[in-house]
């Protein structure tokens, strides 16, 4: 019998039908995958499940009971716990305090610390989570914090646990620990809703799968026995994607940007490299290897303590991003939310923020031009939005990324485009669209630097790869030398270096 059932769920936002008549059910003791492109309605589904948003129509049924909750609190009491991508822990408190928040074991208002720590220690141990409950959350790695979130769900006796992209910022070792924990929860008879872009994980973990597309149910697989990956991808994008990468050879010109001995506060050892016109250069490495730090130094987002940069043979000394842009370097940051989008402002303003200097006269805007530029790039980059006036926070991650690309493509005289994790949290369909844009830019002579933690991605789209490890460039490979072993061997710190870098 199904334990969790979504019945005819519909939900609309101003200008968007986010979900229309979606129904599916999940068995007890099953891990159920929920897949779909960005904007397909996964997040809305989770919001409705968690009581954060109300469906316009339809019901959620748990264990035969129709749930009518007015808030996230009610969902919580019904045993539904959603673990979001942004974790909700208090960094200054200990693990145990976080886990007992709201229901401290107290005597006349005084917290019984010893009892609390002992209780939490037992719980963590029985769940197979190896974290000291006395540590402050701020000292934990992202993977460990995720474990704490799951432990919270266990302690609250959740019946339904939804995980939204849980592995997006985990190392592969941390992911393994997470998977083991999920297996254990399944064995205990919990219902687990697993939202992910990663086909490998879904096929490995899930018993059943639902695919959403454009707010509608695209497919429901009660079992994954006879389902292929290609089939799921096709269901997600609504068409066959033969080759995600689509790399093709192209003419590569002379040296565009040359960086010599660049170092800064967060990058102690000087790094040197060059990138040529028309070339797509990949930077691969584990998190913390220094790739993003190096790129931020080139873009002058952080101050350089040493190093020289030449552009087309001429020395340049950008002191801040403002100057870097004017010498032809632009950067799409890794952290879209913090460093990319301007919250509360429209797509139009987000696109024009830098390039309006080309059409504003004496500091006065040219509204007609602004509209034109915004419309051009919304169309060119296939940004899915009801209007250019839409607040950018209402867009899905992939569409936000396209808007930020639009911001830089509308600039004139860009010679070097640096994209840091260009497809993080972005679905297959939008990924190949973004790659195609990069190829076209390279064909027009731009030099492109792609920073990525996804090995298949750098191998798939780059002409050349530099591998970074522990703050220095550890290998240099041309396309015909690409191999997973060679790249990974250069990216992994040798046995003498602490393992901390990997986590």
């Amino acid at each position: 019998m199904s334990f969790l059932e979504f019945a005819h769920i519909s939900k609309s936002y101003p200008g968007v039908q986010a979900l229309s008549d979606v129904s599916f059910s999940v068995e007890k003791g099953a891990v159920h995958g929920l897949m779909g492109e960005n904007g397909a309605g996964k997040s809305t589904m989770i919001r409705v499940l968690s009581g954060d948003q109300h469906a316009d129509y339809g019901d959620i049924v748990i264990d035969g009971q129709v749930q009518k909750y007015a808030s996230t609190r009610d969902a919580f009491h019904a045993g539904v716990i959603v673990i979001h991508q942004e974790l909700q822990l208090v960094p200054e408190l200990t693990v145990a305090e976080n886990l007992c928040l709201g229901r401290f074991p107290a005597n006349a208002g005084v917290i019984q610390s010893r009892q609390m720590f002992a209780e939490v220690y037992e719980k963590l141990k029985s769940a197979g989570i190896d974290i000291d409950p006395r540590r402050k959350v701020k000292t934990l790695s992202i993977g460990e914090r995720q474990m704490v979130e799951i432990a919270k769900a266990i302690m609250l006796d959740a019946r339904v646990i939804a995980l939204d992209e849980p592995t997006s910022s985990l190392s592969s070792r941390e992911s393994e620990i997470l998977f083991a924990l999920i297996e254990r929860l399944r064995a205990e008879g919990k219902v687990i809703l697993y939202i992910s872009h990663r086909l490998d994980e879904v096929f490995r973990l899930c018993d059943s799968l639902t695919v959403l597309r454009d707010g509608k149910l695209a497919a429901h697989h009660p079992s994954l026995d006879n389902v292929t990956r290609e089939q799921v991808v096709a269901e997600m994008v609504g068409r066959e994607i033969s080759n995600v990468w689509g790399w093709r050879p192209r003419a590569i010109g002379g040296t565009r940007l040359k960086a010599n001995g660049i170092s800064g506060e967060k990058l102690g050892q000087p790094a040197s490299f060059e990138v040529r016109s028309g070339e797509i250069l990949g930077f691969f490495g584990l998190i913390g290897a220094g790739r993003s730090e190096l790129m931020r130094l080139i873009y002058a987002a952080d101050p350089r303590s040493s190093g020289a940069i030449t552009m087309d043979g001429k020395a340049i000394q950008p002191a801040d991003p403002h100057q870097a842009i004017r010498s032809g370097i632009v950067l799409c940051s890794e952290d879209r939310k913090h460093d990319g989008i301007i919250q509360g402002r429209s797509l139009e303003e987000n696109i024009n923020i830098s390039s309006r200097r080309h059409h504003a006269r004496f500091g006065i805007l040219n509204p007609r031009k602004e509209v034109e530029v915004a419309e051009t790039f919304i169309k060119k980059l296939k940004v899915r939005t009801p209007s250019r006036k839409q607040d950018i926070v209402n867009l899905s991650g992939g569409n936000q990324q396209k808007v930020i690309l639009g911001r830089w493509l509308s600039e004139q005289g860009v010679k070097v485009l640096i994209v840091d994790e260009p497809t993080r949290g972005i679905d297959v369909g939008a990924k190949s669209e973004i790659y195609e844009i990069l190829y076209q830019l390279a064909e027009d002579g731009m030099a492109i630097i792609v920073v990525s933690s996804e090995l298949p991605e750098v191998m798939g789209i780059c002409d050349r790869i530099l591998v970074m490890c522990g703050g220095r460039i550890s290998a240099h490979l041309d396309r015909d030398q690409f191999s997973e072993q060679a790249i990974l061997a250069a990216a992994l710190p040798d046995k003498k270096t602490p393992d901390a870098i990997a986590s």
Binding site: I342, G344, L365
Partner: protein
Amino acid sequence: MTNSFKKVLLGDQGLVVIFVLAFALVSIFVPNFLTERNMLGLLQSVVTVGIVACTMMFCLAARDFDLSVGSIVAFAGMVAVMASNATGSIIVGILAALLCGAAVGLVNGVVIAKFRINALITTLATMQIVRGLALISSDGRAVGINDPNFYQLALSKLFGVPTPIWVLLLLFVVFGFVLNRTVFGKNTLAIGGNPEASRLAGVNVDRTRIWIFTLQGVVCAIAGILLASRITSGQPNAAVGLELSVISACVLGGVSLAGGRAAIAGVIVGVMIMGIAENVMNLLNIPAFYQYIVRGVILLLAVLLDNLRSSALGRR
């Protein structure tokens, strides 16, 4: 409440609708409200708050804060009077006041943007320093204006409307334009929306913030000069508590304290609502002590309405 009425109230122009309704109601029910004399008096009474609100809007939109405005208004008034008394030239007095206002604003801006000191703390400090300067320069006494022509700044009329009101209207138009139609205005809103992303998008954040505070200083000086002219002297204790009225008016007008959201129409409505409330209470002979309570209640209601509006738009 019917559904469509609710929609209008919670829509973008909700505050304007409330303002129009309130205006119509008091026009009908409060005797002597809708007379030319009272209307001009009402506008006169909001000149100082209105002028300073123009640039406070930029400050708040960029996620900053300026508590020093009241002190700058008083100080600039003192400077204008003393400099024109000393030199015998009103022009020199005005220029000196504008320069002093700009200088205080510049100091605020540089300390906040370059030395990364919290705007609240910085302007709390300059608020006291500048008030101190105003008191020291006259030994704590009011300084009378020597040249009667100085009075004309506030007394002269154009088409029957006093000059300060024209100045206020002009500044509303100018700063409305600057906010919506210039790179400076858009950069201000972007900084308020996400300062780090704006910096990485090539916006010169420090320079923009310094400009905002400098402009604020200049605009406060304008308000100070007009105020001095109206009260016929430089008063070191003038405009105490002005910062709170101005910030209230801005917030009432939908300017977000979290930055990134501002509109001149809202600020005008905010200023007018505060002015009308006070004016009506005066006409109805409500004692001044109660007026504090009413002002506070209006502010709370406006913020609650704003909150309702954002949750009606979806908490995304």
